[in-house]
Amino acid sequence: MSLLELHKVHAYYGAIEGLKGISLSVNEGEIVTLIGSNGAGKSSTLKSICGQVKIKGTIRFGGQDISTQPPHQTALDGIAHVPEGRRIFPRLTVKENLEMGAFSVKDRKIVKDRMERAFGYFPRLKERLGQLGGTMSGGEQQMLAIARALMMQPKILLLDEPSMGLAPIIVEQIFDIIQELNRTGMTVLLVEQNAYQALQIAHRGYVIQTGEIIMEDEARLLLQSEQVKEAYLA
């Protein structure tokens, strides 16, 4: 059974239909990527999962229907969303940002342990604990955003365009870390415009266009597909 399952999900922004009945699934331990161009509905898909937009259809997580749940409840269930543009709390320090990731944890020792574990992936954050989030570089903010999500010790990580606006070398680092996380058992749903890089680390992929899934396959097959090559890898 899949860990996360979307079944004919429609999303609405007022009168505009952002998603036109998409279905997709993510199995435990997988990296699944959702690729497509700007405005295709990638972010809307993640927002639907987290309860940030109005939807029709069903979303199941671990067998449980979470379609109408408020975002904070979804987070409690173990879905960590690293939003587009990283959305670091700009006037909180790095440490406070991380603590907010573990907001539901009461035991301070557990929070500390998780923070240490996050520093294992992102050692640079440890040197920046007292700095305000908004004053860090884009790459550091992306690292902080992922570390903050890891503080929740989630069952699945939803990543929205982690490569956006970053230098290629930083993108590579971040994708390495995503793979490393996956090797330790983290399930990942990765939304990317950078299709080539995303498909290289993913197991499976979906292609989304104007709110509809138009292709789905194993990532290595999508990489070879003429249609994908032409539209997204050129």
Binding site: P71, H72, L76, H81, F89, P90, E96, T135
Partner: protein, 328 residues
């Protein structure tokens, strides 16, 4: 002229600080709610007024039950203070739930009008109850500490005149300082305080961190309103007589203080409040002296707003406005 100003200075500073402390704590309520919802809780002045009445009512009830004489003054004061804070805190949560939350996605103007409506409602309810219970909506409460202390400022420097401090002025200042330090610690050092700032900075993202945004907003209203209500008790003790309309002018000044300090910034609100209080007292005492009697104390409010306008022209974000540029 200078000697006259200097002579009154010690008294002006004492009274200005006490008034400023009142403005500061009320200003915090405006700024906290603005910080989190970007909306001016216009009813906050009325919450302050309700607190003043709640505290006074508590003292009058104690007296008619014959308990007031039996307990020490500080205990009665504390009791009135806590009762008023709890009541107005809960009132704040109720107002948010009923009058603001359903309108959260509506344009800000709509919430503003709802807030104005709540203001009138609170004025009328308090007036009705006060009239019913005491036969007059202007209520003179029980002053617990009415002794005066003399500050011999003239012995420091002979040009100063002596100042008189009501014992209650010291209580007002002490209580305001305790409340402000307590709030500052809460907001900066506790998990819920940090969550409050997180929600203020990015509500959607905070909800992704499993923070229940509605709970944080309710908490913000509770704290802001309780601070306002508690200050109402201090005010009633300081000035003796209250009526259901004291919230409007005081609320306006406190709001001005919040804007002056940089709306959304708690420390800014504290500083702005003290500043407005001092300016007001300086103006009301010295305007007549400075202008040879052409402008008197009645122009004191003009001075506060003048300072506000000047500050906003040169520093639109307020004195302590957000200095950090956010990276996109």
């Amino acid at each position: 002229m200078i000697s006259e100003i200097l002579q009154t200075l010690p008294q002006v500073l004492v009274d200005g600080l006490a008034l400023g402390a009142v403005y500061a704590v009320v200003a915090i309520g405006y700024t906290m709610v603005y910080g989190i919802l970007e909306f001016i809780n216009f009813a906050h002045g009325e919450i302050f007024m309700t607190g003043a009445f709640a505290g006074t009512a508590a003292l009058l009830t104690l007296k008619s039950a014959g308990l007031l004489g039996a307990m020490p003054g500080w205990l009665a004061y504390l009791l009135a203070f806590v009762i008023a804070m709890l009541l107005t805190g809960i009132l704040g949560i109720g107002i948010e739930r009923v009058a603001y939350r359903p309108l959260r996605k509506a344009p800000k103007l709509i919430s503003f009008i709802s807030a104005v409506g709540i203001s009138f409602l609170l004025q009328d309810i308090v007036r009705f109850i006060a009239d019913l219970k005491t036969g007059n909506f202007i209520v003179t409460g029980i002053t617990l500490y009415d002794s005066n202390l003399k500050v011999a400022a003239s012995s420091l420097w002979s040009v100063f005149g002596d100042a008189f401090i009501k014992t209650n002025t010291i209580i007002v200042l002490a209580a305001a300082v305790v409340l402000m330090i307590g709030l500052d610690l809460f907001v900066n050092r506790t998990k819920w305080g940090v969550a409050m700032r997180a929600v203020a900075q990015d509500r959607d993202t905070a909800s992704l961190m499993s923070i229940n945004v509605n709970k944080v907003i309710a908490l913000t209203f509770f704290i802001g309103s309780a601070l306002g209500g508690g200050t109402g008790v201090l005010f009633a003790q300081q000035y003796g007589t209250i009526d259901p309309y004291i919230g409007f002018t005081l609320g306006m000044k406190a709001f001005t203080a919040a804007v002056l300090g940089g709306i959304g910034n708690i420390r800014g609100a504290m500083f702005g409040g003290i500043l407005i209080g001092l300016i007001e007292m300086l103006a009301s005492t010295n305007l007549g002296i400075l202008t040879g009697g052409s402008f008197g104390a009645e122009y004191k409010d003009v001075m506060s707003f003048l300072i506000l306008i000047v500050v906003l022209i040169f520093k639109p974000e307020g004195l302590f406005g957000k200095a950090i540029k956010e990276k996109v």
